[in-house]
Amino acid sequence: MGSQQMNGAEIVLKALVDQGVSDIFGYPGGAVLPLYDAMFNQNSIRHILVRQEGGAVHAAEGYARSTGKVGVVVVTSGPGATNAVTGLTDAMMDSIPLVCITGQVPTHLIGNDAFQECDTTGITRPCTKHNYLVKDVNDLARVVHEAFYVARSGRPGPVLIDLPKDVAMAMGTYIEPKHVKPKHYSPQVKGDSVKIEQAVKMIAAAKRPLIYAGGGVINSGPQASKLLRQFTKLTGFPCTLTLMGLGAYPANDKQFIGMVGMHGTYEANLAMHDCDVMVCIGARFDDRITGRIDAFSPGSKKIHIDIDPSSINKNVHVDVPIVGDIAYVLEEMLRVWKAKAPTLDKGAHKAWWKQIETWRKKKSLSYKKSDTVIMPQYAIERLYELTKDRDCYISTEVGQHQMWAAQFYHFDDPNHWLTSGGLGTMGYGLPAAIGAQLAHPKSLVIDIAGDASILMNIQEASTAVQFDVPVKVFILNNQHMGMVRQWQQLLHGNRLSHSYTESLPDFVKLAEAYGWVGMKCEKPDELDDAITEMINTDAPVFFDCRVAALANCFPMIPSGKAHNEMLLGDDVSDEEVGGAISEEGKVLV
């Protein structure tokens, strides 16, 4: 049977089941009630009731990022849809595959400023990969199947389906995925073989090579990470990763030289600046990576592998662009490499590694230790040491804690690091952790948070309790919006305008009010025991980790500066920090 009669809401649910969906994140409301009615009498799909629609989207992002599957969101019209906008934009920036179904007022009321009406497709057009307004129930099955196809193919992204209430209630025909003709949309997955040969030749001739990989490797799937490892091992080249790429290459491998970019390591940024051949794999030369663009890696030939042609030559001109899926292209490159068995300039590579080791010896991530107060870096170091032997997923909010987590928590596997990189959405971490924990019930899932960020989606604590999700929230509590404060110190004469949180809640009591376990730790020598207790608690835990209030996140490439003008934490006084950014640099973000 290729087709069956049912109402629109049932068509949607059937299509979701046929797309392999087992969990959806959502919040009901008037316009989406038919869909919720259809959910009432079925057991194939679990619905996770969030506490605000924004939380639903971030939870779906965490779910998608940690599984490689498409995350699914259902929200109502009007405010339901507008609350989802931040999450959709976040997923767009970080290329996370989502399908978001929004209720809409009945078709005859569209355009009438009806109750809870908004122009959802108009509002979300720039922040989705594609969106649909379905006006005919007989289009519905096709649209849902197509939405999944679009969300996960090529460069993944969020797709929205706006579903008017009368369409959800009308009777129509269901079509199975196999009967839906694929859209003409077909991104290029196989790389151009001529370009691949060129790239191999260029790589083989390199004297100071560098592999710079990003989130695209993770989006391409686990196979791409495996191939990246093989390629790096085979060539013996140093490898650096972007924030979004962490886990694509094992952090504990000696060929890994740390994260690159604004808060990346000294060795990674200097290697980026001085290399002669840069192999960019699934990264996009974002401004947080390049710093000052006219001084970005001035002497290198650049190879760029990306599935999205519009990423190529957008910010930085590259010499060999290869459009294709990372896994396909890397496999082909490895094949060509093995067939050609090129002789490498071992002497040059040895000298290059020696140079990198000299930079590494700077120990750019070092910080002033303390016996009396917990340093935030120390807290992450201990958290890593005490959790590294478990299958652990880490999400973060946005700010200093996020950068410290990226620097001090070491990821050896892809899909274990969930962070809002492109949009930088405070409030991402808690719902994302919930989404990841639902997908991996036996794993340890920790949201490394800040005291300001966590309050942006605190209501999701209630979701965690309802669905027995034992996530841990590890708050680096410095009583400031740490990164804002750091920038005010750097840029604005240390005038801390509104970056101090005057009346933070008592996080332990707050945790208990939600039905969580609340913990607090203030002393470095009590930290290990407290973290162990947190890990061993089979319930959601809020861990209020009181850390040094005014610690800065270093190293740092100040805005408007080049990679070789990094500020290192050890040797900067507060005065130097204050004068680090020129007048021109101050207008940059």
Binding site: R125, N131, I293, N564
Partner: protein
């Protein structure tokens, strides 16, 4: 250490390129919102639109052809092309200026009011430009003129002195020469 020469920050002046004008043909699914999507891309990313023409050209397939005249450096034009190509309803983008020989035409309706010598001169010039009179009274003419944008510009310039009161232009439609289709 290498000191950067230029004082600029994020804008890369490494290669200074001239601004060029390009005509792009974009084949799209004629679905609701597709034009908003294309125009939204141009505003969101700060690209220019000098002329825009759109209508459904293949009714049975619901395919529309959008002709956009835009200006920018060759690198920006390349970006525009890639950004358009990755949109789901976009079938194909062709840079007609680069692809080779192509023809561009525009139609304008030009209303000229006046009496006496100026009116006679307007009619005379219209004949020279092969413009048709499609509406007239003893006080006015409406001319219909087709041709390259430059010809239309010239015609309007002349009519300005002869009592021009209103102009409506279609924007540019373009197509490649020869027997091959897009």
């Amino acid at each position: 250490m290498l000191k950067p020469k230029s004082q600029s920050h994020y804008v890369g002046p490494a290669v200074v390129q001239d601004i060029v004008s390009r005509t792009l043909s974009v084949l799209v699914d004629n679905e609701p919102g597709v034009l908003a999507r294309v125009i939204g891309l141009f505003t969101a990313r700060g690209y220019n639109i000098d002329s825009l023409t759109v209508t459904e050209t293949e009714h049975e397939k619901h395919v529309s052809r959008i002709t956009i005249v835009t200006t920018g450096t060759p690198a920006v034009i390349q970006q525009i092309k890639h950004q358009l190509e990755r949109m789901v309803p976009v079938h194909r983008v062709l840079d007609l200026t680069v692809e080779g020989q192509s023809m561009e035409r525009e139609l304008a309706l030009v209303k000229v009011a006046g009496k006496g010598d100026k009116r006679i001169e307007a009619l005379r010039m219209a004949e020279i430009f092969r413009a048709n009179v499609i509406d007239a009274s003893i006080n006015h003419f409406v001319f219909e003129i087709t041709g390259k944008a430059s010809k239309i510009e010239q015609f309007i310039q002349i009519m300005t002195d002869l009592g021009l009161i209103e102009v409506s232009r279609t924007g540019i439609a373009a197509i490649g020469r020869g027997d091959a289709a897009m």
